[in-house]
Amino acid sequence: MLFFIEAVISGLLAGVMYALVALGFVLIFKASEIFNFAQGVMCLFAALTLAGLILGYTPFAEILHTLGLPSTWMPVFPLWLAIPLTIAVMIGLALLIERLILRYLVNQEPIILFMATIGLAFVLEGIGDLMWGSDVKPLDIGLPSGASDWMLDSFDIYVEKLEVAAAVIAAILVVLLTLFSQYTRIGRALRAVADDHQAALSVGISLRTIWVIVWSIAGFVALVAGVMWGAKSGVQFSLSLIALKALPVLILGGFTSIPGAIVGGLIIGVGEKVAEIYLGPFIGGALENWFAYVLALAFLLVRPQGLFGERIIERV
C-alpha cells in the first residue's frame, strides 16, 4: 500500500512537470488557435540561454572560433541578472516570431500554422545549438534536490525535493496567470481575444500586440518548465522532446483549458507511473513511451473534445 502511495505521489509530481509544458501550449492555442509544436524547443532554448549565461558561455562561440574572432569574452552572470536577461531574450523571440512568421500567416488554415511552428522548432533547435553548443549543461539555480527527509522519516515515503519545489512553483505560476488574466487590462484583452477574434478586433484590441504578449508569456512559462526539467536532468537536446509528453496531457485536458492542462497532467503522470509499476513487468517495460497516448486516446473516445475542452459544435 505504501508502495502504491509512493507511486501515486511521484506520479502526481511528474504530472505537474508535464502540466507546466502543456500550459504554454494552451496559452497560445487559446489566444491564436495555433497549435504550437515549438513549445518544447522553446523550453530547451530558454533553459539553454539561462544555463549559458550562468556558466559564462559565449554565444555562437564555435562560429566565432571558426572565423578567427575572440570567442571567450562573456562574463559569468549572477543568477539575479541572468534570469531577467533570459526573459528578455524570450520576449525578443516572441517579437521576432510575430514579425517574421505569424504576420504573414494570418487567416491560414490551422495545419499550415502547425507546420510553420514545426519549422520554427527546427530553427530554434539549430540556433540554440549554434549559440550555446550541443554539450549537456548542468543547470543549478539553487533548487533543493535529493529526497525529502521529513517525508522519509515520518511516513517512510520517498519524495524528491525538486519535484515538490516544481509543484509549488507551478501552483504559484498558475495563480499568477489567473490573477493576471482576471485583474489586468492586458489580461482582459487576452480573454477577449480568446473568446472571439472578430469581436476583440472591433473593440480596438490589436491582435498583433496580443500575440506578442501571449508568445512572451508562453516563453516565460517555457523558461520555468525548462529550468525545472533542466535542473532534473541537465540541459540537453532531449529536453525538447518533453513537448511530446505534453501532447497527451493536452488532448486529455482539452486544448483550450488551463485547469484541463493541470488535471490532464496529473492524470497522465499518475497513470503512467502506476502502469509502469503494475503493468510493465508483464509486457516488457518502457511503457512510458506510449502509455500516455493510449490513455488519452481512451479518454477521447468518450469525450472527443477532451475533459475540459469547449464543446465542438458543427454546422453545415
Binding site: 495545419i111 530553427v123 545549438d129 513511451n289 477521447l300 473534445q305
Partner: protein, 358 residues
C-alpha cells in the same frame, strides 16, 4: 507560344478524361518516364542510387500515401514512421518465414498487412477530428515502435535487435542485400512507384477519391449527400497505409538492408513525410513527388555546400542544416501555403498566356 491547348481536339470521353489533357504535358511525361526506365539504369552509380534516387522514390511513395490520408481525406496523421515500420517488419517476417516467396509479392503483401494495421488505428478517426486525431495517431507511432523493440518475435530473436535483409532475386538478379547492383534496385523501386503512382492518381480521380474529398471539405455535408464516412475514412486509412507500408518495406529491404526501429522509424520520419506533403502541396499527386524531391536533395546540397565547399566542421554544418531547413519550411509556407504544386500550376498558367498576357 508553344504551350497551348488550342487545336488539341478531344473526340472521345476517354481522351477528355485522361490524366494529362494537354498534349505537351503528355509528351513530357512519357519522355521523362522513358528516360527513367531506359537511360537512368545505364547511368546510375552507387552514390546516386543510395543517396538520391532510392530515397526520392521511397519517400515519394510514402508521401503519396500520406497525401491520400491528409491531403485528400483531411485526416492529419503523425504515425507515418510507425506504419513504415509495420511495412518493414512485415516484409522481414514474410521473407524469413516463407523463403521461396517472390520479393515483389512480399513487398505488396507487407503493404496489405500495413493497411490492416492502419484501419485498426484509423478507427478513432470516426469520432475524433483535427489536432486531437493528429495527437491520437502519435499513439500508433510510439506504440508500434515500442512493439518492434520489445517483442523479439518480430526481429527473430537476433542479439542486436536489428533486422537484416536476406538476399532475394527477381529474374535471377539480386534486388535486396549488399550484392544487389544499383540499377536492379533502382528499377525494382521504379516499377513499383510507377504502378502505384498510376493507381493512386486514378483512385483520387475516381469515385473513391471524390468521396474522400467530400469528407475532407465537410464531413457532415458529405454524409447528408450520401457519402458514408465510415467507408470513406477507413478506406483512406487502408490505402494510405498500404502505400506507406510498401515504402517502409522498400526502405528496409532495398535501401538500407538493416534497420533498427527507434532510429529508422522514429517520430522524425513522420514529420519528414508530413513536411514533404505540405511543402509539395496537400491534395496533389505531383506535390508528393516535388516535396519528396526537395527534402531529399536539399540536405545533400546543403551538406555539399557547407562541408565540402566551405570546409565547415560537420557538427557545425549539421546545426546550420537544421536551422536552414526549418527556415526554408517557414519560408515556403509563407510564400505559398498550397505548396510547390501550386507554384508549378501558376507557372504553367503564365506559360499558356506567354508572351501575350491578355
Amino acid at each position: 507560344m508553344f504551350y497551348r491547348e488550342t487545336g488539341d481536339f478531344k473526340t472521345s470521353y476517354a481522351a477528355d478524361a485522361q490524366i494529362f489533357p494537354i498534349a505537351l504535358d503528355r509528351w513530357a511525361f512519357w519522355l521523362a518516364l522513358a528516360f527513367a526506365f531506359l537511360a537512368v539504369p545505364f547511368l546510375i552509380d552507387d552514390y546516386w542510387e543510395k543517396s538520391v534516387l532510392l530515397p526520392f522514390m521511397i519517400f515519394a511513395l510514402a508521401a503519396i500515401g500520406l497525401n491520400i490520408l491528409t491531403g485528400y481525406c483531411g485526416l492529419v496523421s503523425l504515425g507515418t514512421g510507425g506504419f513504415m515500420a509495420v511495412g518493414a517488419y512485415a516484409s522481414y517476417k514474410l521473407m524469413t518465414e516463407f523463403e521461396g516467396l517472390n520479393i515483389f509479392v512480399i513487398v505488396l503483401l507487407s503493404g496489405g498487412i500495413t493497411a490492416a494495421v492502419g484501419v485498426l488505428f484509423g478507427l478513432p478517426s470516426l469520432r475524433i477530428k483535427g489536432f486531437y486525431l493528429a495527437v491520437a495517431t502519435l499513439a500508433a507511432q510510439f506504440f508500434l515502435v515500442w512493439l518492434f523493440n520489445k517483442v523479439p518475435w518480430f526481429y527473430n530473436y537476433s542479439a542486436t535487435g536489428m533486422i537484416t535483409v536476406p538476399e532475394r532475386t527477381m529474374f535471377g538478379i539480386a534486388v535486396t542485400g549488399p550484392a544487389a547492383p544499383p540499377w536492379a534496385t533502382y528499377l525494382f523501386c521504379l516499377v513499383l512507384l510507377t504502378l502505384l503512382g498510376f493507381a493512386a492518381k486514378n483512385m483520387v480521380r475516381g469515385r473513391i477519391g471524390r468521396s474522400w474529398m467530400a469528407i475532407r471539405d465537410m464531413d457532415i455535408a458529405a454524409q447528408i449527400i450520401g457519402v458514408p464516412p465510415l467507408q470513406a475514412k477507413l478506406s483512406a486509412f487502408a490505402i494510405s497505409s498500404f502505400y506507406i507500408g510498401v515504402a517502409g518495406a522498400l526502405y528496409f529491404c532495398v535501401w538500407f538492408g538493416a534497420v533498427e526501429p527507434t532510429e529508422a522509424f522514429g517520430i522524425n520520419q513522420s514529420f519528414l513525410v508530413l513536411f514533404m506533403v505540405i511543402i509539395g502541396g496537400l491534395g496533389s499527386m505531383l506535390g508528393s513527388f516535388l516535396g519528396a524531391l526537395l527534402l531529399v536533395v536539399l540536405p545533400i546540397l546543403l551538406k555539399n555546400l557547407m562541408v565540402d565547399a566551405a570546409g565547415m566542421a560537420p557538427v557545425l554544418a549539421r546545426h546550420f542544416e537544421i536551422t536552414i531547413v526549418g527556415a526554408l519550411i517557414v519560408f515556403f509556407l509563407i510564400v505559398e501555403p498550397h505548396g510547390l504544386a501550386r507554384l508549378w500550376a501558376m507557372a504553367k498558367e503564365r506559360l499558356r498566356h506567354w508572351p501575350f498576357s491578355y
